[in-house]
Amino acid sequence: MWLFLGTECLLFGGLISTYMLYRGRVGTGPRPSQVFDIPFTSVSSFVLLMSSLTMVLAVSAAHKRDDRSTNLWLVITALLGTTFVGGQVYEFTAFYNEGMGFSTSLFSSSFFVLTGFHGVHVTVGIIMLLALRGMLKNNKVPGSRAETVEMIGLYWHFVDIVWIIIFTLIYLIPA
């Protein structure tokens, strides 16, 4: 899993580099400062950050063999993740309505590819969390339950740390 996360670092490193290179190339489209809604994205960031807490509590409960708490924290983590993805869909729709489509400019293309890729990762994480919850409930987890929860937890935390970087470099530092 750590090796996989190392390769994921490279993937997002490339996407963030591309965005940083193109963020000033807005053409006739809107500039980042004209479309970004910092209060809204801050709340989304907070939600994803708190989902890392609920995920680590699920891992902790799994190590204590507390199935009820593990299930509960996994579902709460999935709900927080869904809230984040919902916020991203809303944000993308708002940007589109303000004249920033995928092919409007190099800035918009690189922005949508980067944040879209991250959103897909979060969605895959949600599916993994819900699948794990179902497998735990039906006793279909092969091997150690705690280890399986921990593996999925690592992926989830990785998605969170990528957002920590995206939020600072893309949203808070002006182009």
Binding site: C9, L49, L53, V56, I164, I165
Partner: protein
């Protein structure tokens, strides 16, 4: 009594206690609040370094405590941080390429 002692030691074996994790989350939330404040308050020349330092602190805290890297085998740290350093290298190389040849 014995069960409680066993579960507590099991929890610390794999990281922090529940209260410890909540404390880390509160610190992360406070740093996020500080980060957002830089958007509204003029930090002058400190703006960029402050933001980057806060981002790095949050990153390291999540990796160390939530991902348990601090408590795991050092091989995992090497695997992860090698990927990270390579990624930063890719970023710097790409930026330098466009600066000199773009």
């Amino acid at each position: 009594m014995n069960t409680t002692a066993t579960t507590d030691s099991h929890a610390t074996e794999h990281g922090l206690s529940t209260a410890g994790y909540v404390r880390i989350a509160l610190i992360l939330a406070a740093i996020t609040g500080l980060e957002v404040s830089t958007y509204y308050v003029d930090f002058g020349r400190l703006f960029l370094p402050a933001l980057l330092i806060m981002m790095a602190i949050k990153f390291v805290m999540v990796v160390s405590y939530f991902m348990h890297l601090k408590f795991d085998n050092k091989v995992f740290s090497w695997l992860f941080y090698t990927g990270l350093v390579l990624a930063v290298g890719v970023y710097c190389a790409a930026l330098a390429t466009f600066k000199f040849f773009g």
